[in-house]
């Protein structure tokens, strides 16, 4: 931002930039001497510590919320799969596989044949498709 501005906030920002450059280039001794002379040595670091603590709490909360959401999603997907009838799942898988050769390659159905898959494998593939959102909400599995 090198454009001349009439906004006092932007003008103050330009000054702050130069001052901060200066502060970053100072040695620790010089800086602390300055604080002793012009600042408040007793409270140095308090603002940073308070801000850091608040940031840690905030980031922690966000992570917790994201983990809860992921857990909920997994639970939802697992429950959806549990409700599937295996015979119905085989029919569904056969329908999907016959319409999509890429799907057959991915799941090696061509080599083994759908009938060779165990119930667990069928449910596992369906589970993966559910978690990928392949079936719209409300799809009757």
């Amino acid at each position: 931002m090198t454009k001349k501005s009439k906004d006092p906030r932007i003008q103050l920002f330009h000054v702050a930039r130069r001052d901060v450059e200066d502060i970053l280039a100072m040695s620790d001794d010089e800086l602390l001497k300055d604080v002793e002379e012009y600042g408040d040595m007793q409270n140095v670091g308090k603002l940073v510590d308070d801000a850091y603590l608040a940031a840690k709490l905030s980031v922690g909360k966000s992570r917790l919320a994201a983990a809860k959401d992921a857990l909920e999603k997994r639970k939802h997907d697992t429950e959806a799969v549990k409700l599937i009838d295996v015979a119905k799942a085989r029919t569904l898988l056969q329908a999907v596989a016959s319409n999509d050769p890429q799907f057959q390659k991915k799941y090696t159905l061509a080599a083994r044949g759908l009938q060779d898959l165990s119930d667990a494998e069928v449910l596992s593939i369906i589970s993966e498709l559910v978690s990928l959102g392949a079936f719209p909400d409300g799809w009757n599995l």
């Binding site: 906030r9 702050a16 130069r18 901060v20 502060i23 603002l47 940073v48």
Partner: protein, 184 residues
């Protein structure tokens, strides 16, 4: 043949966290000073500004290249966030389209706690600037360097225009910084 892209290693989240836990007293003083100066004239507090950059660093939203001192990385992050926020208001729609893709998100981080549309904020910044200008005008060189800073001139431009040496410029900068300490 396209040149291979240079990849710079960045600090992993746990390395960043460890570095933040180990900030020295001098580095904390630097960060406080930077946050006070950068937030001057805006309705964001220095603590809020610091919290935003700490959050971005901890969540790895902003990554610190290996070898860059963490205090420099954090100061630059504050500067960049406010630059995006202030630039957004300065540019028209066409110019905004040419800003970095992150500019919008960066500006939003500050907009969540401050508003440039606040007339009281504008007035306060104007008063701070007037008082600061008066204090700095006690010395002619300081005043001219300060005017150059207000206009966003680079250090080299200021030295060229005023025909002063780098040493004289550095001395004026220190003098301005000390005089401005009490305003931030």
């Amino acid at each position: 043949m396209p040149e291979p892209q240079k990849t710079t290693r960045v600090l992993a989240p746990e390395e960043m966290r460890s570095a933040l836990e180990k900030l020295s007293k001098a580095d904390k003083a630097r960060l406080e000073n930077a946050a006070r100066r950068f937030s001057s004239g805006l309705s964001i507090t220095p603590q809020d500004l610091l919290q935003i950059v700490f959050e971005k660093a901890l969540s790895h939203e902003r990554k610190c290249p290996d070898g860059v001192p963490v205090v420099v990385f954090l100061a630059r992050a504050m500067e960049s966030l406010l630059d995006s926020y202030l630039t957004k208001r300065e540019h028209d729609a066409h110019e905004q389209a040419m800003l970095s893709p992150n500019a919008e998100a960066e500006a939003a981080a500050i907009e969540s706690v401050a508003s440039l549309d606040d007339p009281a904020e504008w007035l306060q910044a104007k008063q701070t600037l007037a008082a600061l200008t008066e204090k700095i005008a006690e010395n002619a060189t300081d005043e001219m360097v300060f005017q150059g800073q207000l206009e966003g001139m680079s250090p080299q431009e200021i030295q060229d225009v005023l025909e002063i040496t780098p040493v004289q410029y550095a001395s004026a900068l220190t003098s301005i910084r000390r005089k401005s300490d009490k305003f931030f």
